[in-house]
Assembly symmetry: D3
Homo-oligomer: 168 residues x 6
């Protein structure tokens, strides 16, 4: 049985992530999804809590037949310990998917080869771009799975982002 690992900050989870995970689902038996910087929230660049992001992801992948584990990963601020930290909080995995150069390098030094993925419309489908649209009051809902729209509405996330983005 093979288990794949994929990590992101998911601020918020969007169609680019969804498309990548649907591809990974065809290659492995189970997927472990790490929710990075899980302790951060209520910041313009990190508006949603770890738990809110777990909810967005799990809901969006409900129809996937491949089982997923969605795990919040808190920052350690020590790159040399990061692979061990991730491994201690997740079920064992043997395939790693990432295009992030640091993630690739850290796993490579730990002896774990990393597979790269084709990314889906990188410029519009990014957390940064979506947060900017929300702040500008422009449409963003088409860039994320419907479940993410529901979660953000449920937690009053647009109001939160607008509020904390105000100048002091």
């Amino acid at each position: 049985m093979s288990r794949g690992f994929y990590i992101g900050r998911f601020q918020p989870y969007h169609n680019g992530h969804q498309s990548v995970l649907e591809s990974i689902a065809e290659e492995v038996d189970e997927i472990v999804i790490g929710v990075g910087s899980a302790q951060l929230s209520h910041e313009v660049d990190n508006p949603f809590t770890g738990g809110e992001r777990v909810l967005m992801i799990t809901r969006s992948l409900e129809k996937l037949t491949t089982p997923v584990y969605v795990i919040p990963i808190e920052d350690l601020q020590r790159n040399a310990l990061w692979v061990s930290h991730v491994r201690s909080m997740t079920p064992p995995f043997d395939v790693i998917y990432s295009n992030n150069p640091l993630v690739v390098q850290l796993f490579a030094e730990a002896g774990c080869p990393v597979r790269s993925m084709e990314m889906y419309k990188r410029d519009t489908h990014s957390g940064t771009a979506i947060r900017r649209l929300i702040l500008a009051g422009k449409p963003w809902e088409h860039l994320v799975p419907p479940a993410v729209v529901s979660v953000i509405r449920e937690i009053d996330g647009v109001k939160r982002l607008l509020e904390i983005a105000q100048d002091d």
Copy 2:
């Protein structure tokens, strides 16, 4: 929709936990399971990593039709912040199940009533009792779900516990 919360250290997850969770599953629409002291492992009282415990629990609940979120929760060592910490790492929940007096008190002070549960054969079905049986080389497999036996075998968990329990 109601979401229930249940927390334990699950060192290891056993039939008592399974029986409690099967009861909770009949009362709520979704269950959030917190894996406490997630950062601890390789200790006689905490032999398994957070991720290994996530795997034990998820596997054991595979047949449950109620969706579950299994979330590692690291210790903060600050009781007054614990409820906020748990809430930040988990999807929102509205019903809390616990017999632990500290958990009951902390949620009560936060304005969240806690439901108590009937416990299942408390003396034999406890992590402490099971770890003692493993250390004594006696049968313990009948006290945990079959998936837990598999996980402990896969990670060579009995050898780990025996090794770290040796005197220096």
Copy 3:
């Protein structure tokens, strides 16, 4: 009895803070003042220790008849836990005064409404502006209460700020 809460970094405490606190004193029976980022000092943007700032504030408010509690609050780097952290370190309070959007949002999510205040000459009466004047060797003493001038002199604070602002 009502107790009001007000928080700032107070690097240094100045006439704008003093004026705000004198207004609050007319509305509540007691005031809790949180000294934020209490663990930071000896930085260009945070030159004074938590204890030095406690001294500046307490001395400046000596003539106020409303009792004040001046409490250093260390950063947690976890916004979702910040309200609980503040509450754990302070006497219970029921009225919050702040114009800081993050503070407003965090207390609002915790169910505590926040009162905004009229600010006093915001452009000149700011910690940033005062630190810049000190660094430029220009007069700054008229912008802070006399007790703050004494404390900064006593701890040789101008020399400290000039020294740490030098390029390496």
Copy 4:
């Protein structure tokens, strides 16, 4: 001007502390009171939060004419840094009062002589003894200043201690 320093955990603040502080008040111009292990609460040995203890102490010393600064001090778990930590969170002080051997030694190594004090009925007037009386349902109110009785009542502290002391 001389400023004295006194530290304790104050779980809870009692007549022994009060008597010591009244003596210190006769020797110095101002008193800095450190509330140790400020981050701990909701434990059988540490039931009250840092902020609740600040309130107990401040209220009990209201009639003292000597000004007091009551400062929560979080644990660092590094004895060699403790004196610097305390000094960074408090107004400068020049006289230290303690009978605690570790406090005496740490300040002595930092070059600060420590004055010892006569203790007041040490066996009955101790936090441990008072917590035991509360747990046993016996009278304890005569061992603490009236303000402490009020604070503990206001926060429902007896119920908290009884609840968390229950066996799991």
Copy 5:
């Protein structure tokens, strides 16, 4: 070239450690010595600082021709990350010497076999035994290298241990 690793708390460094390290010196080209729990000091079980222990060890091994690296290692309180933590703070090593079951297990899980060593008069040559002798005012100097006696004298270590061992 082979580099060996050996770790202890060295409270204090004694003839048993010296004898083990002299044996290791015959098997490898260089030795990395980790000073564990480096952040602890001024406790009855951990009286000496990390730096004082670095000094004791380096001085005692001055005549060794094998180069040694003496590195303080702070505790992480996360066993699953400990091997990565040690490796990040030390020059790369390929041979590990330990009789400590936890150290053996953690390195074994990381894929690094550990060599055990014959221990030298384990009952008398232990940090615990030596600290007890010092506290009892009995001779202990013959159990440690002469350089350790000098360092403990220089830092007034006997007085420190006696002071902190007093009852409060």
Copy 6:
């Protein structure tokens, strides 16, 4: 006997550091070298681990007759505690060498005068300049001691730096 202290981040150790240390070696009996931000690695500005930097320095100073202690120092993020932190992890020292204004100020406030040093070709012999040369694929080896070239080769450090410097 006099012991000198010198601290840097050494990302990487270069001829400027070497020249400074050779001068210090003529003035003191022993040198304590602190490797700052020891916990950082795998960042564009901090590519090498604490242990790798310990190795670079020790190897480069092998021919020095003055004994050196090379000690990793983790960041505390609390300037007011930094001098105590450094002192707790190092053998006692009485002479401090630094041109860094913050280091100078922190030791000065602790009552320890700091000696400044003449710096050697500051613009080309800096960690920043050398990391930029490596990233640009230009010659950098002449700016560091030969031992540093070996260590960086042994750990495949150039590839690491190039990899983590890529855009995500």
